[in-house]
């Protein structure tokens, strides 16, 4: 991600809180790991080395996610339903929609985008807003509750420099593409998979056009690269100023319950 503009007036306090949270999380994880080992030996349960490695990796991955991302994504990082996966995607779509909305507004106030880029920015804003609405509807159809929109922060230069805007957009869109691809195998319902794929395809087109507008190779690799949820959360963490209301504890579990689908 690009360097950050510090829009957070409580930056230092936030860092202290984050450090304390990290320590707490680490100690809790340590206790959890210790408990698992002791409990495992007491019960004499023979777990396979592969399963243990998987758990260790998962725990390590969770610990690597910045606290602000943990507070925002919470239990969505270990999704239990398709609605959870879509809610995870919804946060990313909120992020993209917010970014393009601000960019279009900034350009309207003080033009800084040239050529076809302003039209592209508007197009991307509209597409991302359409994705937000569609995902919210689909989460509701699945019996879940759509997550709210966190408060985001962006580097200030992306709203005054076209080069910075295009570079940042390319990174953002690439993260979206990787997120959808990485989550695809976890989706249970075929309708949901097709729905997610239809958004993923457009995110790939967005990436192509942003890169093309920046004078870069539209498709630098023959295959898209998946990203894990942990990686995505870590990548976007610096862009999150505050989680959505009601998400401060990072707990938001939604289930695929019977509903009109």
């Amino acid at each position: 991600m690009a360097s950050q503009c510090n829009n957070n007036p409580n930056h230092l306090e936030a860092n202290v809180e984050e450090t304390n949270s990290r320590r707490t999380a680490l100690s809790q994880a340590g206790l959890l790991a210790g408990g698992l080992i002791v409990g495992g030996s007491l019960l004499g349960r023979a777990k396979s080395a592969q399963a243990d490695d998987k758990m260790m990796n998962k725990t390590a991955g969770m610990m690597a996610v910045p606290p602000i991302a943990m507070a925002t994504f919470g239990s969505l990082l270990t999704p239990k339903s398709d609605a959870d996966i879509l809610n995870f995607a919804l946060i990313l779509e909120h992020l993209e929609a917010d970014f393009y909305t601000r960019a279009v507004q900034a350009h309207a106030t003080r033009p800084y985008l040239n050529g076809r880029v302003p039209a592209l920015a508007q197009k991307l804003r509209d597409d991302e807003n359409a994705h937000v609405l569609a995902i919210q509807q689909r989460v509701t159809d699945l019996g879940g509750t759509p997550v709210g929109k966190p408060t985001f922060q962006f580097p200030s230069e992306v709203f005054v420099s076209q080069v910075a805007f295009l570079d940042f957009s390319a990174t953002l869109e690439q993260t979206g593409v990787g997120a959808y691809l990485g989550a695809a195998p976890m989706i249970k319902y075929r309708d949901v998979l097709r729905f997610a794929a239809s958004i993923y395809g457009i995110e790939a087109r967005h990436t192509s056009m942003i890169r093309f507008a920046a004078g870069r190779v539209a498709a630098p690799d023959a295959l898209e690269a998946p990203l894990s949820m942990m990686d995505v959360a870590t990548h976007v963490a610096p862009l999150i100023l505050a989680p959505a209301a009601g998400m401060m504890n990072g707990a938001m579990t939604t289930g695929d319950t019977p509903a009109a689908m």
């Binding site: 339903s81 398709d82 197009k123 509209d126 597409d127 359409a130 994705h131 569609a134 699945l142 593409v177 691809l181 695809a184 195998p185 249970k188 319902y189 075929r190 309708d191 998979l193 097709r194 794929a197 239809s198 958004i199 993923y200 395809g201 457009i202 790939a204 087109r205 967005h206 990436t207 192509s208 056009m209 093309f212 190779v217 539209a218 498709a219 690799d221 023959a222 295959l223 898209e224 690269a225 998946p226 695929d256 019977p258 509903a259 009109a260 689908m261």
Partner: protein, 250 residues
């Protein structure tokens, strides 16, 4: 490879065999019927008073497992990529290419290179999984210097800029929509590969549309096309992996 997989793989269209396109019919039917069966099961279960449940998803997954469509879908994708590879390879040699702007030439070179990579990637996967029957590449004549010409492209496709772009987009978009139409018919590893390719196909489509003065992203959601429709549409280029009925978007 399971017995079912081998049976499905064996039923795939044989490469330019003497029997011609009729050989493809059993595999086509299998793919279409299997897709329809999964869809019907999904719809049926979705229509129950209980609505969709985790059990529903598991059942549809189990059905997909029983049908094991991955080799069939990958054979279809293999021929899609071969078609694209041949088209863009030929494009680089045509008169129309010589008259293109530098950035247009770059785009055609990029697409030709990446379609070749897609083709080689699927080829390796098929070899690794023992799925060597089916696609035309593995026909008795395919590796010889007398390899027959499988695909037919419009007369002026490589001489005229407008025809070059329209044919390129027709092949690219149909292939892209076909990938999206098959996304829920395959399992984890195949899904990841097919989706990773489909994303790049989407980038290619956007690039070609942009260079051709068209809206590169005309919709906020990617369209999907069934294998039967995509195959029928691409039949005009000699594609044999799909069906023969009319073209309808899903």
């Amino acid at each position: 490879m399971s017995a079912e997989t081998k049976q499905a793989a064996d039923a795939m269209p044989q490469a330019h065999s003497l029997e011609g396109s009729e050989v493809a019919l059993p595999a086509r039917r299998r793919l279409i019927v299997a897709g329809a069966a999964v869809g019907a099961a999904s719809l049926l279960l979705g229509a129950t008073p209980m609505g969709p449940t985790a059990g529903h998803a598991d059942l549809v997954r189990s059905l997909k497992g029983l049908l094991h469509l991955d080799p069939i879908v990958m054979n279809f994708a293999f021929e899609l990529e071969e078609l694209q590879k041949e088209f863009f390879n030929n494009a680089l040699l045509g008169d129309a290419y010589d008259a293109l702007q530098p950035r247009e030439k770059n785009a055609f070179n990029l697409i030709a290179r990446e379609d070749k990579e897609h083709f080689e990637t699927i080829k390796k996967l098929r070899e690794r999984t023992g799925n060597k029957n089916g696609g035309r590449f593995n026909s008795p004549n395919a590796s010889s210097g007398r390899r027959p010409r499988f695909f037919n492209f419009p007369k002026n496709a490589f001489k005229d800029r407008a025809k070059l772009f329209s044919t390129a987009l027709d092949i690219k978009e149909t292939s892209l929509f076909a990938y999206h139409g098959a996304v829920d018919l395959v399992h984890k590893d195949t899904l990841m590969l097919a989706a990773a390719i489909a994303g790049v196909e989407g980038r290619h489509v956007a690039l070609l549309r942009e260079l051709n003065g068209m809206d590169p992203i005309p919709s906020a959601f990617e369209a999907a096309m069934g294998a039967q429709s995509a195959g029928a549409h691409l039949g005009r280029y000699g594609f044999r992996g799909g069906g023969t009925d009319g073209v309808t978007m899903q």
